[in-house]
Symmetry: D2
Subunit: 141 residues, 4 copies
Amino acid sequence: MSPQGARLYRAEVLVRFAHCDPAGMVFYPRYLEMFNNLVEDWCREERLPFAEHAPGRGWSLPTVHLDVDFVAPSVMGEVLSAALRVRSLGASSIALEIVLHGPDGALRVRGGVVLVLMDLRSRSAVEIPDDLRTRLAAFLE
Amino acid sequence: MSPQGARLYRAEVLVRFAHCDPAGMVFYPRYLEMFNNLVEDWCREERLPFAEHAPGRGWSLPTVHLDVDFVAPSVMGEVLSAALRVRSLGASSIALEIVLHGPDGALRVRGGVVLVLMDLRSRSAVEIPDDLRTRLAAFLE
Amino acid sequence: MSPQGARLYRAEVLVRFAHCDPAGMVFYPRYLEMFNNLVEDWCREERLPFAEHAPGRGWSLPTVHLDVDFVAPSVMGEVLSAALRVRSLGASSIALEIVLHGPDGALRVRGGVVLVLMDLRSRSAVEIPDDLRTRLAAFLE
Amino acid sequence: MSPQGARLYRAEVLVRFAHCDPAGMVFYPRYLEMFNNLVEDWCREERLPFAEHAPGRGWSLPTVHLDVDFVAPSVMGEVLSAALRVRSLGASSIALEIVLHGPDGALRVRGGVVLVLMDLRSRSAVEIPDDLRTRLAAFLE
């Protein structure tokens, strides 16, 4: 898929009182909750069939790797612009990139998140089926 | 400092109901709260003079980078063994490694955390002073 | 103010993976975060001038009392209907009622929250000024 | 059981960076996490057989009511003294009182928590069996 065709999942994230630490800035584990919420919203809105977002299904999508740069702090009341895309697809793994920009347009957080498709019963990784792979590939950069 | 001389900060972390997700496993942002608590305990017990652990001081120690492998899941009631050491020291930065092992001895989580020494008033990075550098170097691998 | 004239602040709250415990239901401290977010959104949207929602102002609005009935559990993926109103106004205190209903229309949570208007510098309660009292009274049941 | 005989469950709770809001005080939903952790520790240490503390058992112990007074704020680094006792026992319900005192000896938080014994499969309340009732009664005030 050409870069022109790549889709981005975009959302806005309000920095809340509940996210902020005594320095008045986002406490970094709360950024990871934002990341998880973004993946959840993306999966729900795109109807990706994972147990975390549709209880009762047979697939789970645990996070196996994370790498994050906290470039600049965010403060209460700011609305951050989030963008999510697929960086690469493995046999069972989905590597995402999530970036958060401030209302000033400057980068605040850039993160890579690797998820693995798991069968809930066998608790082992399973290959991403073709139809799902096609839908995920639309978000490949 | 020779490897023999390197100190490790060790602690135990109980996996609580509050940490676990609907799959009964630790929700990954809660591991990052565990990481933050470990750094906090280490700083407090070693009397490292950061604002996060001693309000009113002029230095802060924000987290600027994170990379984590979630190797195997942990479930409620398990007591994890945590170990923290200093991986490297920059002019203003402190790179830590934190590992969590399960009661079975197997690796559960391995993370790198980079902190930067900041002046609270100027909000800019400051050089790690010599006496603090010496104390941190005791934890260098 | 007649009951007909009383305003309600209404919002929708998605039950997320991050809210749920190993039983797959909302972990009750997460309901209290939902409550805090609702009060925050109400204050921001109504431009009520509290420090929690507009950093730098001189007033804070800490929670001093809470009483909550958890009537029925909520599960991941449900969209709850929230309604907030003012139950009573004291010299410095604001008593709110917050109710959450499920998509089935049944009551899930009913809570009372008492806030007190505080001066940030003196850290003491201050009387609710007349103009603010008038605006809050519009939400009196 | 005479008041002299009543047992208290006691613990210490460190106020962490992760608990504190931009005012530098404990964010109130974090007090409820402390409450939940205290109940969890009490049940585990007293070997009370609830699913939240021993996965796989057939009983759950959801919280159905909460009433809390936040009497005075707590700040980062303080060690709070917690005490838990049983206020009353119903057919299926256990009413607890939890109090947190500061290092200055002053009351910070006083809360009532009502739990109900549930069968995990039928999702209905069950009567507290006699042997469990006897063990809980030791903590009756």
